[in-house]
């Protein structure tokens, strides 16, 4: 009996504990209506940080990227200037998705958070973030009036009328019109080999394969004695459905439209695309591509680029090549890479790339946990504004750059440093390190150019850019079963690409790809297409 009582009592105690844990995390229901009062009367014409210098603050900012490194706050030129301007200290914390999820679940959030806008938590921002529009109204109307981009604000206004996150690298239609956008895709070749084989036309299937074959003949070995691989493309990331450059990038090169008649267009089923996949298959079969294509990750492949391992390379992220191109040029300047015209569709049309999206890349939030909502808002205003963008992109006028005909130009030693020693440049100067909400197109308009190592590649794509805002954020909401279907499909898609490339002949390659296209139905493909079409329609309406 006693035994039983003890048992019952301990179970009851157990339940009590669990119920308590359940209550442990209660969401504050702050919707931005009961924020502390502003320290002074804010003025839409002057950014509030100018008036708030007396109030010191220390903020913590979480950035969801392990690789995000900079010098300690105040130690590089840029953060020292921000500190001087604003009387603020920012402690950056970095991490990955695991850490982010744990943080969100615990409810203990830093003042500011930056992460990929496609994460499930970004869609639930109202649960943890303060509405930027309300913060702006109360503390810093300059943000909405002047600092933030109007097109971006409109795009980011949720159905409840609030704006929760502000993006990095957001580009609106006006930026495209003004030419303040840059492309990120290129088909690059090793200059010495390309010239040795007589600069052939590589835009047609025959020309492409012939050039690779000739390259193999004239230059079979790299400087360090390993075999030259004639063709490769951005690394695949099969487990996460990353298609490297074999999917969307190739489709962009072939100028396959993203929508047709206001509907999402299934580019994977386009005959032009399937035909070129099979050209790559032929290249693989003839030993013009290597197995490393399927095994190496992005970093390994880029390191091989810096060894001059590849003759031709189809790449989806030119900006990420800077350091590696620099290394390659230092190693052997004759073996530098240049962008040339790559695969084109059968009509010979130029490629068409997106030069940036209105949604941008990451979103930055001010959390409900912040004790310094005013200072946090001022910081975002500062970084998003034209003035702040100049600081984060070029540093301090007279010290790291000079204005010349309305364009900023780095001083000689800074320019030299960034083209030769990117690591020290990043650490000591910090230009480009505080991109979280900066106005990238404005920086371009003021003369921001990519480093010399990739300048030619970026310029090559500059006349091939067109916006495609209508297909942004059209995939099913992360965390839903439809989104899981899509993840499974994307993995299957890349695996199928590999199978096509490894197929023995054109017929088999075509068959494998067509089977995949049909197989998609098993994973709710029709519903996914429906979702995309609905979203495209909504986007077109929103953009009007």
């Amino acid at each position: 009996m006693k035994m039983k009582k003890i048992l019952v009592a301990s179970i009851a105690a157990l339940m009590g504990v669990t119920v308590l844990t359940a209550c442990g995390k209660s969401n504050e229901s702050g919707s931005g209506d009961n924020l502390p009062k502003a320290r002074f009367k804010a003025d839409p014409k002057t950014p509030s940080w100018k008036k708030d210098k007396k109030h010191p603050a220390s903020l913590t900012w979480y950035v969801n990227f392990d690789w995000y490194k900079r010098a300690e706050w105040g130690k590089d030129t840029v953060s020292a200037q921000i500190k001087k301007d604003m009387n603020i200290d920012v402690k950056f914390v970095v991490g990955n998705d695991d850490k982010l999820n744990t943080m969100m679940a615990s409810g203990k959030l830093p003042d500011l958070m930056t992460f990929d806008r496609n994460l499930a938590v970004a869609k639930d921002a109202k649960k943890f973030a303060l509405p930027l529009n309300k913060l702006s109204d109360r503390y810093d109307p300059y943000f909405e009036k002047s600092a933030a981009k109007p097109g971006t604000l409109k795009w980011y206004t949720e159905s409840d009328g609030n704006i929760y996150g502000y993006p990095s690298f957001s580009t609106d239609a006006a930026d495209y019109k003004a030419g303040n956008v840059v492309g990120d895709q290129a088909f690059i070749v090793r200059k010495d080999i390309y010239e040795k084989i007589g600069k052939p036309d590589m835009t047609t299937p025959e020309g492409f394969l012939d050039a690779l074959r000739q390259a193999k003949e004239v230059s079979p070995k790299t400087d360090n004695g390993t075999a030259v691989v004639q063709f490769a493309a951005t690394a695949l990331d099969i487990q996460n459905g990353g298609d490297g450059a074999f999917g969307n990038t190739l489709q962009d090169f072939l100028n396959i439209p993203v929508t047709k008649n206001g509907k999402w267009y299934d580019r994977d089923s386009d005959p032009q695309y399937i035909a070129w996949l099979n050209i790559f298959r032929q290249a693989y079969k003839e030993g013009l591509m290597s197995n490393g294509q399927f095994a190496d990750n992005d970093n390994t492949m880029k390191e091989k680029l810096s060894q001059g391992t590849y003759f031709a390379y189809l790449h989806s992220n030119v900006k990420g090549l800077n350091e590696f191109m620099g290394d390659n040029n230092t190693r052997n300047a004759k073996e530098t890479y240049i962008a040339v015209d790559g695969p084109k569709n059968s009509k010979g049309q130029d490629p068409k790339f997106a030069g940036g999206s209105i949604s941008g890349w990451t979103n930055t939030f001010i959390t409900k946990n912040t004790k310094e909502p005013q200072k946090a808002m001022e910081l975002l205003t500062y970084l998003a504004s034209k003035y702040g963008t100049m600081v984060t992109t070029f540093g301090v006028e007279g010290k790291t750059y000079e204005m010349n005909n309305g364009k900023a130009q780095f001083t000689e030693d800074i320019e030299k440093l960034r083209n030769t020693d990117v690591a020290t440049y990043d650490k000591k100067q910090g230009m480009g390190s505080y991109w979280e909400v900066s106005n990238d197109p404005y920086a371009i308009s003021k003369g921001e150019t990519p480093a010399n190592t990739i300048l030619q590649m970026v310029q090559w794509s500059s006349d091939k850019l067109a916006p495609r805002f209508e297909i942004e954020n059209i995939d099913p909401t992360p965390g839903t079963s439809l989104a899981r279907n899509l993840t499974a499909l994307n993995t299957d898609r890349v695996q199928t690409m590999v199978k096509v490339l490894k197929a023995s002949d054109d017929k088999e390659g075509q068959k494998i790809w067509k089977e995949y296209l049909t197989r998609r139905k098993n994973n709710n493909w029709d519903k996914i297409v429906q979702t995309r079409n609905d979203q495209v329609a909504k986007n077109i309406k929103k953009l009007k």
Binding site: L14, L119, K127, N291, R484, A488, Q495
Partner: protein, 313 residues
């Protein structure tokens, strides 16, 4: 209980006294019990998110109930079944090779007469167990690479004309996983057997020798029956862990190309839950796996009891 007041009476009287008498033993068991409640039972409360639409921004209690919808979803998920196939397949081979392998190795070691050589063999065979999969997996990957020593050896012996893509071939992954696991764990697996072999009465062997039994007959009729209890305990444990696939090994050996044959339940749950944030979905899969594992344990317990008419727990 009320029906048996007479039998209950003496127990009731002496409970505290008995506890007091056992204070020494009790003090050893209670910390473990408390830790188990704290870390194994209380967190089980979180399992209810399998039946709820939980995101990290909700409280566990506050998330809306969705019933069995996550269970229904993964039952319909073709990927889940291919993951299941890999898990069961790899585990089955590991059991088939690793389980008797450890027993055979233990018997062999036991028969080694030279004490120094015995120690030497034991140490060598235990060694890989103490290295983590990150190190061991790295070694395996290097050895099996295009220019690794296995391919070089086979090429030099003219057995093959071009390197075999071990790590990139979906058909070879199971074999690699099973054999590398065997290499890592077989030595460690012998410890319990060797320990229970020392408990066998040496006079049995002497008697067998007198009767003219060969070494092999001694093994069959004395050694193996002597460690039977241990074999059945180990069998139950390994069958119970059949679905508890090896996460470390998978994460290290998995690559983009062998993905379709290397993804197992643990890595799948890890990816779905921790990496992609589908916590409810991953929990539902986890519960399902736990239930199957529990059934397997009960089944093998029942089976071994049938065979050895003694229960190990």
């Amino acid at each position: 209980m009320e029906n048996f007041p007479l039998e209950e009476q003496p127990m009731k009287k002496s409970l505290f006294k008995r506890l007091h008498d056992q204070i020494f033993y009790q003090s050893m068991i209670w910390p473990a019990v408390i830790l188990m409640i704290l870390f194994n039972f209380i967190p089980m409360y979180g399992l209810i998110i399998a039946f709820k639409d939980y995101t990290v921004l909700d409280t566990i209690g506050g998330a809306p109930w969705v019933g069995l919808s996550y269970f229904k979803e993964f039952f319909k998920d073709p990927l889940f079944w291919s993951v299941m196939k890999n898990t069961v397949g790899i585990a089955f081979w590991k059991l088939l090779i690793g389980f008797p392998g450890a027993i055979i190795l233990a018997i062999l070691i036991n028969e080694v007469a030279n004490a120094h050589f015995k120690k030497f063999v034991q140490t060598i065979s235990y060694l890989p167990h103490f290295l983590s999969w990150v190190i061991l997996g790295g070694m395996v990957i290097t050895w099996l690479s295009d220019s690794g020593f296995i391919n070089s050896l086979l090429m030099d012996l003219n057995l093959i004309s071009k390197p075999i893509e071990f790590m990139a071939d979906t058909h070879k992954y199971w074999g690699i996983a099973v054999l590398s696991d065997f290499w890592k764990e077989v030595g460690w697996g012998t410890i319990l057997y060797l320990a229970s072999m020392t408990a066998i009465d040496p006079s049995l062997y002497e008697a067998a020798k007198m009767d003219g039994a060969t070494k092999f007959q001694q093994v069959i009729h004395i050694t193996i029956p002597g460690i039977r209890q241990m074999i059945s305990l180990n069998l139950i444990l390994s069958i119970g862990g059949l679905l508890g696939s090896n996460l470390d090994q998978t994460l290290v050996l998995q690559n983009s190309l062998n993905y379709s044959s290397s993804e197992v339940l643990n890595s799948y749950v890890y990816k779905m839950g921790i990496k992609q944030g589908n916590f409810s979905y991953a929990t539902a899969v986890g519960i399902f796996v736990s239930i199957i594992s529990l059934l397997l344990v009960l089944l093998s317990r029942w089976g071994t009891r049938k065979i050895s008419d003694k229960s190990v727990f």
